[in-house]
């Protein structure tokens, strides 16, 4: 059961001469450029819901309105129209004092350029939020020390921020927000000012901390890789509008429009896609009860060199053509005797980046099995390579060679699966972002 931590309802923010008029016209269907004379629309009709304990990433290029959105969530900016509800309290309608109360109790923030108090030590910075909340000195320093310990800065507690590197300063920023004890953390381009290695380290640490502390995190970034790595769900923004919301996989495999498709083109897919997103239905299987002869028939029919032996849908192992022929010659009938049970397997939620190594080591396709050793799919090496290279698994946009495709489709599960599963959301479906991209764009 998930509960809502924060809800944004039809947020608008227009800067300029006549914001309300601009919102009226935007609602009437005018575009961002058409209302320029009334004001600059930074955020247009943004709605989303963030569940407790999830990392919700808002991603977009600079100028897309993401920083404006995050500042409306805790009332640093007042929306021109729409509402933000945090744990049942409206931020928009709160008085100044109520707003301070919401910020103290419910929402803390991490800033792009750290925003530490340069005249205070690391521990005093980390304890700052508690100081504002009115927590006594000893108690707040103890809590701050605990969090500093978690982010690995305990021995720097008495240093000043300008004695720390960028990554360490941002850890202080993170510690300050975590120490506040609020359920929601707003992170505004929190890692963008850090160099790439440190950024990766911070991302991993954030995920760890989030798993440990179970906070709700709303993370703003312009870096898609970061969004994909951190986000349980991602909202992609463009020109003030949220153009797509979904899990990283949904966004990668089923981009809502050309813009998103172009955006996700360069993403490091191996860190986002899981085995279940690229795997194909297991065609090369033979029941263990079918015996050696059954295995031989499958191998011949499918013109393959190996086949997975399954027992009641559970994977037993792999049988190679050589072993089958040898067994047939020797007059053996029991398939169990010749099954190689040391076959390499992966779980459906394993990231591609983690299964590459195993795929290289073996010539048979990787078997994807669930917790009960049920064979849910296979990943031939070619599929893996296609996923890495973002190569389309079908050529449907080229109707000239339709007939050969259909012919091939009978024999190759790869094309088959893609053709049969146009809805890419299903995990069994072959992952092919470009299929979806071309569907969305009838060229």
């Amino acid at each position: 059961m998930s509960e809502t931590a924060l809800e944004a309802r039809n947020l608008y923010k227009v800067f300029g001469k006549n914001p309300n008029q601009a919102v009226r016209r935007l609602k009437a269907g005018q575009s961002r450029n058409e209302v320029l004379d009334a004001g600059t629309a930074a955020v247009i009709d943004a709605s989303f819901t963030v569940q407790r304990g999830e990392i919700f990433v808002i991603m977009g290029l600079s100028g897309s309105g993401k920083s404006t959105i995050i500042r409306m969530l805790n009332g640093l900016l007042t929306p021109t129209d729409g509402d933000v509800v945090i744990q049942g309290h409206s931020v928009t309608e709160a008085s100044a004092a109520e707003l301070r109360g919401i910020r103290r109790r419910s929402v803390s923030m991490v800033f792009q350029h750290f925003a530490l108090l340069p005249h205070r030590t690391v521990i005093d910075n980390a304890a700052y939020a508690l100081e504002i909340q009115g927590v006594g000195r000893d108690s707040r320093l103890a809590q701050a020390r605990e969090i500093l310990d978690k982010v690995g800065l305990s021995q720097w507690a008495d240093s000043y921020p300008d004695e720390l590197s960028g990554g360490m300063r941002q850890r202080v920023g993170l510690a300050r927000a975590l120490t506040a004890g609020t359920d929601i953390l707003l992170m505004d381009e929190a890692f963008s000012a850090l160099d790439p290695l440190i950024r990766r380290e911070m991302q991993e640490q954030l995920v760890e901390l989030q798993q440990e502390l179970g906070r709700t995190i709303i993370f703003i970034t312009h870096d898609l890789n970061e969004a994909m790595f951190l986000g349980d769900r991602i909202a992609v923004m463009r020109d003030g509008r949220i153009v797509q919301q979904g899990t990283p996989e949904e966004i990668l495999t089923d981009p809502a429009n050309d813009y998103v498709a172009q955006f996700v083109q360069d993403v490091d897919r191996t860190r986002v896609l899981t085995a279940s997103a690229v795997m194909e239905p297991p065609h090369l299987t033979t029941p263990i009860s079918a015996g050696v002869r059954g295995a031989l028939r499958v191998l011949r029919e499918q013109q393959a060199s190996s086949v997975f032996a399954v027992d009641n849908n559970r994977l037993v192992g792999v049988v190679t053509d050589r072993a089958v022929i040898r067994a047939v010659k020797a007059g053996q009938t029991d398939l169990r005797a010749i099954v190689d049970t040391s076959v390499l397997t992966v779980g459906p939620d394993d990231l591609l980046t983690d299964i590459v190594e195993r795929a290289v080591e073996t010539s048979v396709p990787l078997a994807v099995i669930d917790g009960n050793r049920r064979l849910v799919g296979v990943i031939p090496r070619v599929t893996l390579l296609a996923a890495f290279g973002n190569v389309p698994a079908t050529t449907r946009e080229m109707p000239i060679i339709q007939t050969p495709i259909e012919m091939v489709a009978q024999f190759t599960p790869l094309v088959d699966a893609a053709a049969n599963a146009p809805a890419m959301a299903a995990p069994e479906a072959v992952a092919s972002p470009d299929v979806a991209a071309t569907e969305g764009n009838p060229a």
Partner: protein, 298 residues
Amino acid sequence: MIDGFRIPLGLWVKAFIGWVTDTLGGLFDFIALVFTGLYDGVAWVLTSPPFWVIILVVVALSFWAKGWKLALGAALGLVAIVGVDQWEKAMQTLALTLVAAFIAIIIAIPLGIWAARSQQVSAVVRPILDFLQTMPAFVYLIPAIFLFSVGVVPGIVATILFAVAPGVRLTELGIRGVDAEVVEAGHAFGATPRRILRQIQLPLAMPSIMAGVNQVIMLSLSMVVIASMVGAPGLGKDIIQALSRIDIGLGFEAGLSVVIIAMILDRVTGALGQTRKRPARASASAPAPAAASVPANN
């Protein structure tokens, strides 16, 4: 010239000053009382002990603020003032400067804070400051005489008017210049505006504010000398006397004394502005400024 076109601005100002003197006489008497009292008190502290006591105190202050070089310089300068027989007048000038600068700062910093927090206040204050800063200094003396007659008080009032501007400006500038993200952080954690001012804006604006304080003191000193034209005591009297008699020797001695006091005041207040930036800290915990991104023994 256009015949018959003449704006009687001078008459109006005169009438206004006359009206002010009549209606607010009690207030001005009160101000005069306070200023005279302040000046007498400070002047008594500076002139009644023997000169070497004051020199020792100033040297100690210089040493504490900056170090032995400034202390040595201050000692030599003050002895030189004694040597040219300007000690008492120099102390009167110093007393006038301190009183005027103190009052100017008390006015300037809150006004600067207010201007930094409100665009309207800033818009009103700015032209007034321009006016105060560019009006020739002597002009302030005239209404001051009207309101307070001659003596110490018109000198102090004119000095405050002349010196207050940079204090306001640099306070406003300093607070407006505080990193917006840090102020935003204060808001984001639910701090009240008062707390943000006290814990974030003022400490971070302190270098700029202290530069303003320094400027107020320096301008006060230069104006206090001019204020001797309306009867304020101190080195200015000798300088004006020297001017009227074309007495180069006296003029130089008194002028040099002003310069020495100015330099000591400037260096000491400047050094205070810098040392206030960060409290003394235990250097036990942190090794060299972080070149490594991760704590070494983590």
